[in-house]
């Protein structure tokens, strides 16, 4: 037969209670104890002599007389200092209830009695057999031997407002009563010798029949919250639990019960020792032995079990369990601490029980982890790896994972390790290493299902490091997994790396890129463009075209909702095309296509594009003869395209490199490098072209002819015709002094005199003509000068007759007063005053004079500008004429004027005929000799034919040289 009992442990230490002096406490000796109770820090004992004894923590005993005869029942309320007693004051059946206030003492120091009431079940008196007081002090129940239960409602401590009512009556003696309060509903459990009932005191004393058998007195107790406040009765066959509405569990603890007590989750059962067991009788006298069992109901074990002599009562007070044994000895059962208990369990390898125990005692997490770890270790050492890992999984979060991982690193136990790591991930406590390890486990185990689950099933949250996972999957060759991970978590780089380097599905990679947003797509194309180009050139080119024009991810509709609703269209991204050129490194035809597209779509592309395209054209032209014409046209179009932003210099270099003549010439022309064109032709000795070039561009740059001449002069071959033509042009535009022409031609050993004869003759002829012309002019000017001199002389020396009869202003006959000027103009004074701007000048001649004066002044201003002079001199083809011109402007006549200045007539004397006397010429001290000269009225001597006016022209014969 199986051992039909719970496991038994020794979780309590039994000790005899000793006083301060270490002596066994025997203060209760001699008391004829009838009933015990406890609460509020003291044990209350009633005896058969009517005394109540209080025993406090220090084992001090105090006693007072409560009843005349005896005390039968005690009830100490736990929360207040109220003690309810039932006893007899007189012989016969006349039990009296007394309520004592322990906090209120009378003069003798005894508790005061606040209420005395007779306990009568009905018509006939009956001994009290059970007493219960509700903790709220508003309910009290008394059970009688005749099977009656009386409930007193109202304040227990007073008579007033207290109502009593019989709620129960059976023939069988009431053996136990207990109040149970749960959520404002009060129940009263009543147990008699042959029934168990519960009464709902809140709902009209509704009766519930719980069982058809009962128990002996003191064999019932109310459990605590750990057992849902069930009512427990002890019967010889078992212990039964009851809820208010029915039966609960039943535990078979066999044996006749004497007392049931509830202590902190433990059920303490005092039973009579099994008579069948032979018992030695020490000391000869046979005593009743009792068995004290302490059951842990929740965790299902016996926490203590020992025979004790003649137990009268079990008392829970002072945080411990006290047992009153025969001869009134007090024993204490001291509960061992939890650690000790757990160690005991560990020793017996009862880890499950240990865990349950720890949990029920609200052991903290660290402690539990310790247990799990030990349990795991034990299972591990026994070879139960599956079990061990289950325990280790529970330690996740507290125990260092490496402790566990190290144990399971063996290949044999990889699936255990996998389980652990999975849990670790589930708890979100996994590090990168753990992820790596887990994935490695999966791959080692070839457990594709699990791997799938791990990778694919976690849609929402990821509890592992994605990058690590990708890496591991990739390493292990699970490319699909790695790919899907990368795709799902937007690890574009990884995705592409795997797709390109491992799977080599370029098409897919490309499609993937085209779905990315612009920046991602751009950077990835830069990175992988080369590979893609070499594998799938067509699509790559297409993508690049898109990328560089108006890229948008391929899976986004062309017009998104926002645009449709009239919102601003998303910004169009364009990648700079020049950054992708290198991708086409080995595929020039695609590059050409790409660039052509780019240039067509975006004419403002950077110069690099144009340059590259040009280079491609030229390169192909040079190496591929078949399409020469086409390419020639294309490159020319490109060069001539005004929108093309190619770099001219670079284009030139390219053209030169590939010896593309048309391009070179076009570019030279475009840049106005006529010299270069000429030189190009010279280098290629193309005489016709040289002449043509000179003809074409000679207008812009006459030097071309000179160069052409020098070129032809150096040529030893016979190029007479060309030379002649060149000379003709040089001659026509007078580009080179004849001497230089001759010198140039002198270098040529083959040039004959015939070549230059015409030219020389013509030149000499021209020179002669010039000389003659000049001499004629000189002559003319001399004559004019002479004439002027004589005029001046005349003015100075001979008298002037004013015989004008009419006023030059009003044309009326002149009458006095009148004003006369040497220029033969005369005026009425009133006319003169009305028109003249000043008194010294003839109003008629004045405008003409002013003009001349202004010209002179302007010329004089110019002479200050040395810079300009130098500049002009340097630039001028004929320096001499410039110098002559400046002479003419009077650059150097400063000196002559200064010397003239003293010779100038004094101002006062200058106007002898001025009618208005108050002329103030003195105010003009001639600080500026030129100005004074200008103001000189003598200058007016010649009416319109001012000789100074002609002077600049006439004195500059060289200025008109050509």
């Amino acid at each position: 037969m199986a051992f039909l009992q719970w496991r038994r442990f020794n979780f309590f230490d039994k000790e005899v209670v000793k006083d301060e002096g270490g002596q066994v406490f025997d203060g209760l000796k001699g008391i004829d104890i009838s009933v015990c109770a406890s609460g509020r820090g003291q044990i209350v004992i009633g005896d058969y002599e009517g005394n109540i004894h209080f025993l406090n923590r220090n084992l001090e005993l105090s006693t007072f007389k409560a009843y005349e005869l005896r005390i039968t029942h005690l009830c100490q309320v736990k929360q207040q200092g109220i003690l309810v007693t039932v006893g007899d004051d007189e012989p016969g059946t006349n039990p009296i209830i007394k309520v004592w206030n322990l906090d209120k003492r009378d003069k003798a120091g005894n508790p005061t009695c606040s209420r005395i009431v007779r306990a009568v079940p009905g018509k006939e008196a009956s001994p009290v057999s059970a007493l219960a007081v509700h903790e709220n002090l508003n309910l009290m129940a008394i059970g009688f031997q005749d099977g009656t239960v009386v409930v007193y409602r109202g304040d227990v401590t007073r008579d007033r407002h207290s109502k009593s009512r019989v709620i129960h009556h059976t023939g069988s003696s009431v053996t136990g009563l207990a109040f149970r309060q749960a959520a404002k509903v009060n129940h009263l459990f009543v147990v008699t010798r042959d029934s168990v009932q519960s009464y709902n005191l809140t709902a009209k004393d509704h009766k519930e029949e719980l069982d058809a058998f009962g128990c002996e007195p003191r064999c019932s107790v109310l459990s605590d919250a750990s057992q849902d406040n069930q009512f427990v009765i002890g019967r010889p066959d078992a212990v039964y639990f009851y809820q208010t509405d029915g039966r609960g569990p039943c535990l078979v603890f066999e044996g006749e019960k004497k007392t049931l007590q509830w202590y902190r989750g433990y059920l303490v059962v005092v039973g009579k020792e099994n008579k069948s067991m032979p018992r030695p009788t020490p000391g000869g006298q046979s005593r009743d032995m009792s068995i004290v069992n302490v059951y842990d109901i929740q965790n299902k074990f016996i926490a203590y079990s020992a025979p004790l002599p003649d137990v009268t009562d079990v008392i829970c007070e002072w945080g411990s369990l006290y047992i009153l044994t025969g001869e009134n000895r007090l024993m204490q059962l001291i509960e061992k601490d939890i650690q000790t208990k757990l160690e005991m369990l560990f020793k017996k390898n009862l880890y499950v029980l240990a865990i349950n125990l720890a949990k029920s005692q609200h052991f903290d997490q660290d402690g539990l982890v310790d247990i799990f770890t030990q349990y795991g270790d034990q299972k591990y050492s026994k070879g139960d790896y599956d079990g061990a890992i289950n325990q280790y999984v529970k330690t996740i979060g507290k125990l260092e994972p490496s402790y566990v991982i190290r144990k399971f690193l063996d290949a044999q136990r990889i699936h255990n390790l996998t389980a652990y790591l999975q849990s670790l991930h589930k708890a979100q406590l996994a590090t990168e290493d753990h992820t790596t390890l887990l994935l490695n486990c999966y791959t080692k185990l070839k457990d594709t299902n699990k791997l799938d689950q791990f990778i694919y099933s976690k849609d929402k949250e990821v509890d592992f490091d994605v990058e690590t996972a990708i890496k591991v999957c990739r390493q292990a060759g699970y490319y699909d997994h790695a790919l899907s991970l990368a795709e799902r978590h937007s690890q574009h780089e990884w995705y592409l790396k795997i797709q390109l380097e491992d799977i080599k599905d370029y098409q897919k990679a490309l499609t993937y890129i085209s779905k990315l947003d612009f920046y991602e797509a751009e950077s990835n194309m830069k990175k992988y463009g080369k590979i893609l180009m070499s594998e799938v050139p067509q699509q790559t080119t297409e993508l690049l075209k898109r990328l560089c024009t108006d890229y948008r991810p391929s899976d986004i509709p062309l017009a998104d909702e926002q645009t449709l609703q009239g919102g601003m269209p998303a910004r169009i991204h364009k990648a700079p095309a020049d950054e992708f050129i290198h991708i086409f490194v080995s595929n020039s035809s695609k590059l050409m296509e790409f660039l052509e597209h780019m240039i067509k779509v975006q004419p403002s592309s950077p110069s690099l594009l144009y340059n590259t395209l040009l280079e491609l054209y030229l390169h192909d032209m040079a190496h591929d003869g078949s399409q020469k014409a086409e390419l020639d046209r294309k490159s020319m179009d490109l060069l001539q395209n005004t929108d093309a932003h190619y770099d001219v210099n670079q284009a030139l270099v390219l053209c030169q490199m590939h010896n593309y003549k048309a391009g070179i010439l076009y570019l030279y022309e475009r840049e106005r490098l006529y010299q270069q064109i000429l030189r190009y032709h010279m280098d290629h000795d193309e005489y016709v072209h040289i002449i043509n070039t000179c003809k074409k561009f000679g207008g812009q740059d006459p030097n071309l002819w000179v160069q052409a001449l020098a070129y032809f002069a150096r040529k030893e071959e016979n190029c007479r015709t060309q030379m002649m033509e060149v000379l003709q042009h040089i001659d026509r535009h007078n580009l080179l002094p004849p001497l230089l022409v001759v010198q140039t031609l002198a270098h040529n050993s083959t040039a004959t005199l015939a070549v230059v004869k015409d030219y020389i003759t013509r030149r000499l002829q021209q020179e002669n003509d010039q000389i003659q012309e000049d001499e004629r002019l000189i002559q003319q000017y001399r004559q004019e000068t002479e004439k002027m001199r004589s005029q001046i002389q005349e003015l100075k020396t001979s008298a002037k007759i004013f015989q004008v009869s009419k006023c030059s202003i009003c044309n009326h006959p002149l009458e006095l007063p009148s004003v006369h000027f040497l220029c033969q103009h005369s005026f009425h004074q009133h006319c003169f005053e009305g028109y003249a701007e000043n008194e010294t000048e003839c109003p008629v001649c004045m405008p003409e004079n002013r003009k001349i004066l202004d010209i002179i002044r302007a010329q004089e201003q110019h002479k200050e500008l040395h810079e300009q002079f130098h500049h002009q001199l340097e630039r001028a083809s004929d320096g001499f004429s410039v110098v002559a011109d400046y002479f003419g402007r009077g650059v150097f006549n400063k000196v002559t004027l200064i010397t003239d200045s003293p010779a100038a007539p004094p101002p006062t004397g200058g106007n002898p005929f001025m009618e208005p006397p108050d002329v103030k010429p003195a105010s003009k001290p001639a600080p500026k000799p030129a100005a004074a000269a200008a103001a000189n009225p003598f200058l007016d001597e010649d009416d319109a034919n001012n000789p100074f006016l002609d002077e600049p022209e006439s004195t500059n014969p060289f200025g008109d040289e050509f």
Binding site: A2, L4, R7, D237
Partner: protein
């Protein structure tokens, strides 16, 4: 916790067939591989929902040991449903079914719904009792049959709930006298037994009103 009905169950069967584990799985949703022998009767409760009604199940898990039989028998009475459990890896537990069934029929009310359960279905490799045998036995004795695994929780929920459904149907059919608590059925505190059937009267009124409107 309010409920419409309260059903009382008992779990019976040979010792070690997994009765306590079934209960633990059903009430706590966990499995304890090492389980102490049940001493007497254990108790568990759980709320389930059938046909939109909250039903409280009170379950007594009895000890399978012969020596506890006298105590456990007293729990048969007042049970509306019984789970008769055997272990598919131990033929003797199947062989004892007849005894258990007789015992149950003798000590309980005649209407008690009995579900036959072949437990430990996860241990397929050690199976001694074929599923067909279980089915045949159930058919023969008018029981519902199911194979379960308290370890993997397979069919555990269904076993308890199907039993409850059967009882519920019987109540609807009027087989059970719901006012007699000895049948193991209790009506919840807020559901008074005098609840009249509103369906017919309400429907008739509604159609009348509809006709008038049109």
């Amino acid at each position: 916790m309010s409920y419409a009905y309260l059903f009382k169950y008992i779990i019976i069967g040979d010792t070690g067939v997994g009765k306590s584990c079934l209960l633990l799985q059903f009430t706590d949703k966990r499995f304890q591989p090492v389980h102490d022998l049940t001493i007497g009767v254990e108790f568990g409760a759980r709320m389930i929902t059938i046909d939109g009604k909250q039903i409280k199940l009170q379950i007594w898990d009895t000890a399978g040991q012969e020596s506890f039989r006298s105590i456990t028998r007293s729990y048969y009475r007042g049970a509306a449903g019984a789970l008769l459990v055997y272990d598919i890896t131990r033929r003797d537990t199947f062989n004892h079914l007849t005894t258990w069934l007789e015992d149950a029929r003798q000590h309980s009310n005649s209407n008690m719904v009995i579900m036959l359960i072949g437990n430990k279905s996860d241990l397929e490799s050690r199976r001694e009792v074929k599923k067909e045998e279980g089915e045949a036995f159930a058919r023969e004795h008018g029981l519902i049959f199911m194979e379960t695994s308290a370890k993997t929780a397979a069919n555990v929920e269904e076993a308890f709930i199907n039993t409850a459904k059967e009882i519920y149907e019987k109540i609807q059919e009027g087989v059970f006298d719901i006012n007699n608590e000895a049948n193991g059925i209790k009506i919840g505190p807020q559901h008074s037994p005098s609840n009249p059937a509103l369906g017919g009267g309400g429907g008739a009124g509604g159609s009348q009103a509809g006709g008038g409107c049109c």
